[in-house]
Amino acid sequence: GSSGGSDSSASSSPSGEAEEITTLRLGYFPNLTHAPALVGVQQGTFKAALKELGITVTPTVFNAGPDAVTALFADSLDCSYIGPNPAVNAYVQSGGEAVRVVAGSTSAGAALVVRPEINDVEGMKGKSFATPQLGNTQDVAFRYWLKEQGVETTPEGGGDVSIKPQSNAEGLAAYASGEIDGAWVPEPWVSEYLAQGAKVLVDEKTLWPDGKFVTTHIICRTDFIAQHPDVVAAFLAGHVASLDSIAADPTAAKESFALALSALTGSSPKPEILDRAWEQLEFTADPLTGTLVKSAEDAVAVGLLEQAGIDAAGGLPGKLYDLKILNEVLQAAGKPAVSS
């Protein structure tokens, strides 16, 4: 444990270090990229895995990464499925203290989609493109890609190609009304754009070695890992079981996912969209450490992340990853270990 971490646990657990807990407070988002969480909860995988320890799961669904991070900081949450950005932010902002990545969840599933008449980067000049949010993975990837292609951009949307960060839904509406000419977005939005006649210009897979890059992973509170390694291990076993179940029966997994999603949000993507999007994603326990580090370096390169903050937190990957438990779990399941 770290000083910051034990401070916060001390305030919430007067009884001392290894506080008795009865439940694992697990966060995730109602997103396709968080499918292992939704499927796991829906199919009872986590419940089964934690049963032996006499611990239940309290699923907590967030709409936005920062709220999950605040909840982790505030001891209101133990672990969360989360995108690489909020994870890095939590790590950097807490000086490398508060959280650790304990496993991967999802890889790939992002692309640059454009109007059919655009065929290369030259055709993109003078046009506007959306990204989900300034400084998020896709935004960084897009800017870095443009930079490599020799196109100037600024965080404020200036330059040869204008980047207009906005939420995916607004981006789609803007595309429909001709306001933008494409977007660098994750699934299922890629599929949504395609359904509206766009085409894929760049599949982000092609930019990464092995075609893999981190889209979602799992973080836990540092002091929670220290105090309850057994709970984390059981939870990760459930996670791996969920991944297995997805791999074994994608159709059933998709159904579970759609059920869980509509229970949470009252909505779910159209089946044809879901089918296509699901294809593009890979669900894996490997956190793909290198890709996150590369992505962060890219963010620094395009001016969306400060190297000083990363250094102050102990660098990347630094202490961000704690994969010991995952590897034990994988080993017990007879699977290859992952590396950090």
Binding site: T60, N63, A64, A169, A173, L264, T265, G266
Partner: protein, 282 residues
């Protein structure tokens, strides 16, 4: 003869109030609303037919209404509405108590007013999401966190309503109170607050609107599967680009807002009538 150059100076007869005439009264109340709704729907449908935007971003009224029709048949919808309305009422009630108390204190105590009077408006302008971290820190992921956001949204508005109501009380009334020997408490209880009541009640719709909007944001703080809510429904309809659901949810919000407005404004009207501030025949 003489009447030829004279004009009757009251042309319309005095209103006859009889208990029998409920039906025409209802009709007079309903037709403008019906007409307005029809007009809006007609224009909407025309724009739709004009092919201005593709149907998946700009659905037709028929599609929207049928979506609404489907929605209201689900148990989920009613449970969402129940959750949200109960939260709204709870949060508003709490904000009402807190805001009214703060309003009275600030209006009454000059140093307090100088100290935090403007702060109230400052808080009022603070967007709800700014409070999320504090809400989570203080209350965890709980109903209370949502309530906190709602109260912080609505209480300043209500307090400002109280202050402005009190400020506009005619000094003649407070002077009367002093002559009658009212102490500070009695002065407020018996003179100032009743005098400020009509403005206060009309102002409550503003407080309600703040409470509701803060709630719509606050319900995204944490999403509970067993507890669907209108705020989450709105947000996800938007996130999933489901235009008909989004519009149907907006209609529900509009209708709820109108119902609440009806309650507040009829309360305000009956207050005014009792004071002779509203003239029936004129």
């Amino acid at each position: 003869m003489s009447a030829s150059v004279l004009t009757p100076n009251v042309e319309k007869p005095a209103p006859v109030r009889s208990g029998a005439g409920w039906a025409p009264h209802m009709w007079a109340w309903i037709w403008p609303k019906a007409l307005a709704i029809l007009l809006v729907l007609a224009v909407w449908q025309l724009v739709y037919w004009s092919g201005w935007r593709p149907a998946y971003v700009f659905p037709s009224p028929i599609e929207t209404l049928s979506q609404l029709g489907t929605m209201v048949q689900t148990e989920r919808f009613w449970s969402a509405m129940g959750t949200t309305v109960i939260r709204a009422i709870g949060g508003f009630a709490l904000a009402l108590v807190i805001g009214t108390m703060i309003g009275i204190l600030v209006a009454r105590i000059t140093p307090l007013r100088l100290a935090i009077g403007s702060l109230i408006t400052g808080l009022q302008t603070m967007p709800s999401i700014a409070w999320f971290p504090l809400a989570i820190l203080l209350f965890g992921l709980d109903e209370q966190a949502i309530l906190f956001v709602v109260v912080l949204g609505a209480a300043p508005s209500i307090a400002n309503g109280v202050i402005s109501g009190i400020d506009n009380v005619p000094p003649a009334f407070t002077r009367l109170g002093r002559v009658l020997g009212a102490g500070p408490v009695a002065q407020y209880r018996d003179i100032v607050l009743p005098a400020a009541l009509p403005t206060y009640v009309s102002g409550l719709t503003q407080g309600w609107a703040f409470a509701w909007r803060s709630l719509m944001a606050g319900e995204l703080l944490v999403i509970i599967a067993e507890k669907p809510s209108l705020g989450a429904q709105l947000e996800f309809a938007r996130q999933f680009s489901q235009a008909p659901t989004l519009l149907a949810t907006m209609l529900v919000i509009l209708i709820l807002g109108m119902v609440v407005d009806g309650l507040f404004s009829s309360a305000a009207r009956s207050l005014r009538r009792r004071r002779g501030l509203e003239v029936d025949s004129s």
